[in-house]
């Protein structure tokens, strides 16, 4: 059998790995629907690390879980199309997702990953359980595969035979990341992977994530955080989310130096890093709080906090406008050519 030809048949030759079109995901609560993800479209190219930034309660975690169809009531996918590596995820049933998608095409390292390991199970036994759930590789093969992977990523191989409590917080986090990418998923989603760690440990975890792509273990990554300084270190592109919508999406440099949405530069101005540029501008924070998504504000959802809010912002939702190559903004100031 010509394995090369067989291998190529299934490959989607397009640049794009993930396509999401008009995705809506709402939580059903007694009072109605919490519109945590409301008409979000985005696409992610192969080989790209995309950062997803915004304050807590803006729907970032809900969005990334929806993108991989990791949803359960009270969260519902209301509308939209999600395609990953040529597969239409939004139409798949749970069995197919489990067998063909999760862990194989896409993996997530959730926010609580530090507690994701079983305290009574050695790391290697947990790995066996997880791999068995997706494929039928033999135990001995899993052991050698895990050892090879840990070596490749410069993680101590001894950790495989340890219990989680014997590992430090940073090591546990890195073990979880290594385990979730064991089957070489095309897309890795990491949700606030470093917010519980101190700076030195954080750097090690970020290095591991970058190495995963360098070693071609994963193709693309979505990194969720509220810390833009962290994104600056690893992301090629950044999407800014506010109140269930993506308000701006561009290359990391454009977001940092030329951002057009008032919320984006609000977030950037709030970053406190020890640098002369930051010292010069001083500490500026965004007034107010993100809105309650049960009753989001009319028009542009950012208008109650926006220093440039105009009449139209209260009435009409701003359209998503393309202002450059791969650079979209949803703001009336931009749509009317004032910025």
């Amino acid at each position: 059998m010509n394995t090369l030809a067989l291998g190529l048949e299934g490959v989607d030759r397009s640049m794009s790995l993930l396509e999401a079109e008009h995705v809506k995901a709402y939580y059903r609560v007694r009072e109605g629907f919490v519109k945590a993800v409301d008409d979000v479209s985005l696409h992610l190219d192969r080989g790209v690390i995309m950062g997803l930034a915004g304050e807590s309660g803006c729907g970032k975690s809900t969005l990334v879980n929806t993108l991989m169809l990791n949803i359960r009531p009270p969260l519902y996918l209301i509308d939209g199309r999600i395609t990953l590596d040529g597969n239409l995820l939004s139409k798949m049933d749970k069995q197919t997702l489990k067998k063909k998608v999760w862990g194989v095409l896409v993996s997530i390292v959730p926010q609580s990953a530090l507690n994701a390991l079983m305290p009574t199970q050695k790391i290697i036994d947990l790995i066996k359980d997880i791999v068995h759930a997706h494929t039928d590789i033999s135990d001995s093969e899993i052991v050698s595969m895990s050892r090879r992977r840990f070596e490749e990523l410069n993680l101590p191989v001894e950790a495989l035979n340890m219990y989680p409590h014997e590992l430090s917080g940073g090591m546990r986090q890195r073990a979880v990341i290594a385990i979730s990418t064991l089957l070489n998923p095309k897309l890795l989603i990491v949700d606030e992977p470093t917010s519980a760690l101190d700076v030195s440990t954080q750097k090690q975890v970020l290095k591991l994530l970058v190495d995963l792509r360098k070693a071609k273990i994963i193709e693309s990554m979505i990194f969720v955080t509220h810390d833009i300084a962290v994104l600056r270190q690893i992301a090629d592109r950044i999407a800014i989310m506010y109140a269930g919508k993506i308000v701006e999406s561009a290359s990391t440099d454009d977001i940092l130096y030329n951002s057009k949405h008032p919320y984006t530069y609000g977030l950037i101005n709030a970053v406190v890093t020890p640098e002369p540029e930051v010292r010069k501008r001083g500490l500026i924070s965004i007034p107010g709080e993100p809105p309650n998504l049960l009753k989001p504000p009319s028009g542009c959802r950012f208008h109650p906090r926006c220093p440039y809010a105009m009449d139209i912002c209260r009435r009409e939702e701003p359209p998503l406008v393309e202002v450059g190559e791969g650079w979209t903004v949803a703001c009336h100031l931009v749509a009317s050519g004032r910025r």
């Binding site: 807590s56 030195s200 954080q202 290095k207 300084a229 930051v278």
Partner: protein, 263 residues
Amino acid sequence: MLLEVKNLTKIFTVGFLRRKEIVAVKDISFNVKESEFVSLVGESGSGKTTTARMILRLLRPTSGSVVFRDRDVWSLRTLNDLRWYWRQVHGIFQDPFASFNPLYKVDRVFYQVFTLLGDNDVDKESLVNEALKEVGLRPEEVLGRYPHELSGGQRQRLMIARCYLLKPKLILADEPISMIDASTRAGILQLFSKLRDEYKTSIIFITHDLGLAYYVSDRVLIMHKGSIVEEGSPEEIMEHPQHPYTKRLREDVPLLYRKWSGF
């Protein structure tokens, strides 16, 4: 001198059959002057919080002393003496949710302040409203609510609003903003600076984030494995760090306008 920490040490004994000693804080000494903003920076496990708890009289030191306005705080005995200390030294912690009783409305934290102050003839409501405005909260959006109905930022602002009622001489803020969104961190930090400027309150700010310490402090103490390894002005620490640990800490802080090499 407002506060003098002298040769403070804390050793924890753990284990039942095999007793093991852990030195959490190892012979540290430092002073805090009136209206001084001092940051204590270190990674988790460096002994920062243990130090704060000993200063707050929540944890008895193994040896050494904490002297506040010329009185050793661990030899205060009577309720009157303790009240004297509690009125002047205030702790603010990482998780503001833990500082509230979830069964009571948040208003209660303010009325406890009046009990502590022993003031009954004042217009409590207008004082509370004043304090809330100082920290950027609208009284109608927080009063009468339960802790779970407020965001982390709002809860932490409430805790700081208490300081505006108490006007303590010293605030120990232990990672007060690490659970708060990056977008509101700067705003909360400025509240501490404002208290310092308006009431000459001294602040000991405990953090793992050298970046935050750099902006607000008069002096930075770097703590590592229970010891203070370096001390200096924020500029000295950032521009000419001496101790290898400080150097590493500085390199590991992610910056906005500079990218790490090898990434």
